[in-house]
């Protein structure tokens, strides 16, 4: 059975189209990533699926329930972590958690095993007010509160935005553990490097799904040969690559430029051109694209 089915969803805010005919499905137990920049429509999609907002057109189901007709049933079986911190700032850590457990007719003790890994890290501060927590601790508390009623489907809207690379890795470690417990997880992120940890990803821009597939397939479907180009003068390389007549795309990627060529160009020819422009130590090698490369090509 599919945990989530979305069929031709549309939603506009005035002239802005947040969702422009989005369709996809998520399998039970799947870790499904919705990858795209701010403004792509990710949060709108999450609000429709968590029954907090009505779409203009189209249908969606969560665990077989319709997001409009059966919204009460859906609310019982999902957990939702909104992009903006939405817990009670003037309740303590423990009070927040207890509140959410009570609302769902359960207790902290009953489902403690589910949150133990995460909650243990903030338990030493359980008498601190939620508003006084730092960003990383707020994030862990929000996840604990979203999990305390043992949801079947977990919706996480940009849980790692503004989080440093080390904490991001930790957070994804937690998600993989939750997945092993059978929870279906939909997670959105603007960080393309997190995509590889998902079972499947949807690349989203301007309210549309550009591509849905496993991270590996997304990468293998990249339609061109991608070259990593380096030289001793990286600052000048940007302009010189743009001036090479056979360059199709050229983007900086940390220590190298990722380049695709049009017909008529070749790595050898490019190398000769760059040497002639005064570059030394020119290195050009064919590489596997990353999800970010794929996104940039698709969103062109």
């Amino acid at each position: 059975m599919s945990a989530v089915i979305v069929d031709q969803l549309y939603k506009s805010y005035g002239k802005t189209r947040a969702l422009n005919g989005v369709s996809f499905s998520v399998d039970e137990g799947e870790l499904y990533g919705i990858i795209g920049p701010d403004g792509a429509g990710k949060s709108t999609l999450f609000r429709v699926l968590t029954t907090l907002m009505l779409a203009d057109k189209g249908q969606a189901q969560v665990m077989g329930y319709d997001v409009v007709k059966d919204y009460r049933k859906i609310r019982d079986i999902i957990g939702y972590m909104p992009g903006k911190f939405s817990l009670y700032q003037d309740l303590t850590v423990e009070e927040n958690l207890r509140f959410f457990a009570t609302v769902f007719n359960t207790t902290i003790e009953e489902n403690y095993h589910l949150i133990a890994d995460i909650y243990k890290q903030i338990e030493p501060f359980k008498h601190r007010k939620a508003g006084k927590l730092s960003g990383g601790m707020k994030q862990k508390l929000a996840l604990s509160c979203a999990l305390i009623h043992k949801p079947k489907v977990l919706f996480l809207d940009e849980p790692t935005t503004g989080v440093d690379p080390v904490s991001r890795k930790e957070f994804w470690g937690m998600l993989l553990k939750l997945k092993r417990q059978g929870i279906t997880i939909l997670v959105s992120t603007p960080y393309m490097d997190e995509a590889s940890l998902c079972d499947r990803i949807a690349l989203v821009q301007a309210g549309e799904f550009l591509q849905v597939d496993t991270p590996r397939s997304v990468v293998s479907r990249y339609p061109a040969t991608l070259l990593a180009v380096r030289s001793g003068k990286m600052h000048r390389l940007l302009g010189d690559l743009r001036d090479y007549p056979h360059v199709n795309t050229s983007f900086s990627f940390g220590t190298a430029f990722h380049v695709t060529l049009r017909e008529g160009g070749s790595p050898d020819d490019l190398k000769a051109y760059l040497m002639q422009k005064g570059h030394s130590d020119v290195a050009i090698q064919a590489i596997l694209p990353s999800v970010e490369d794929c996104f940039m090509l698709l969103s062109k």
């Binding site: 795209g36 920049p37 701010d38 403004g39 890290q121 730092s134 960003g135 990383g136 601790m137 940009e158 935005t161 503004g162 989080v163 440093d164 690379p165 080390v166 904490s167 991001r168 890795k169 603007p190 960080y191 393309m192 821009q205 600052h235 940007l238 983007f251 900086s252 990627f253 940390g254 220590t255 970010e292 996104f295 940039m296 969103s299």
Partner: protein, 247 residues
């Protein structure tokens, strides 16, 4: 003109018994792009607030744009630019109104504001949206505009606090081209980011761990020293040593 636009010696900030910034010392040269990295809670924001004249150091000293951050905070504020991901521009003002407002705040003359407004909008290719409300712009445009506003008054140094968070990958790269151009004009750029590929674009990078600067060098030398292929690996190696779990 002083060669070091930012200078700190043993700069420290304590809140009660908690030492948020612990005796940091470093210099940033004119026109340099300086990446200021660290895990959440490492003390970056507190350090940055001191450098911007918004928070008084507990101990140590610092000079920014030639002024003492403790005793000449108001002068510091006039000679720097600042941009963050959270607050950048007034959404319910038009683009030209935002420029006029910020220009005015920094004491620029009307004539100069008008001239620079034209110059900047042409430069960004934004002439057609001069009369558009900022709220109607796509995020990527807003961030580019916010950066241009932060250097509108030609400050000696601009502080960028996670300027590219959530921005799409193409715009993120265009944003860095704007940074390069500003640095080429002699504006010093002090930038924080959680994208480690962007750390590679900096001239030098510092990494804060538990309130201290644990490493400071060019990306190339840091990678060599930590035997890492990427700055992400360098960061992971250093930040994992953190004892403090405030964040």
């Amino acid at each position: 003109m002083e060669e070091n636009v930012i200078y700190t010696r043993e700069l420290t900030k304590r809140f009660g018994t908690f030492t948020a910034v612990d005796r940091i010392s470093f210099n940033v040269r004119r026109g340099e792009i300086f990446g200021f990295l660290g895990a959440n809670g490492a003390g970056k924001t507190t350090a940055m607030r001191m450098l911007c004249g918004l928070s008084v150091p507990t101990a140590g000293e610092g000079r920014v744009a030639g002024f003492d951050i403790a005793t000449e905070a108001e002068e510091v504020k006039k000679h720097i630019g600042y941009m963050s991901q959270r607050f950048s521009l007034y959404e319910d003002l038009k683009i030209w109104e935002n420029l006029r407002l910020f220009g005015g705040i920094y004491g620029m003359k009307d004539k100069e504001i008008a001239r620079k407004t034209d110059e900047m909008l042409t430069d960004l290719g934004f002439e057609s949206v001069r009369d558009t409300f900022v709220r109607a712009l796509p995020l990527g445009w807003k961030q580019k505009l916010a950066f241009s506003v932060s250097i509108f008054h030609e400050p000696r140094v601009v502080f960028l606090d996670e300027p590219t968070g959530g921005v799409d990958p193409v715009t993120r790269r265009q944003f860095w081209e704007l940074i390069y151009r500003a640095a080429d004009r002699g504006i010093t750029v002090f930038v924080t980011t959680h994208y480690m590929d962007e750390a590679e674009y900096c001239d030098r990078v510092s990494i804060m761990v538990d309130g201290r600067i644990e490493a400071l060098d060019t990306p190339e030398r840091l990678r060599a020293r930590f035997q890492a292929a990427t700055m992400d690996e360098v960061f992971q190696q250093l930040a994992r040593k953190a004892v403090r779990k405030s964040d």
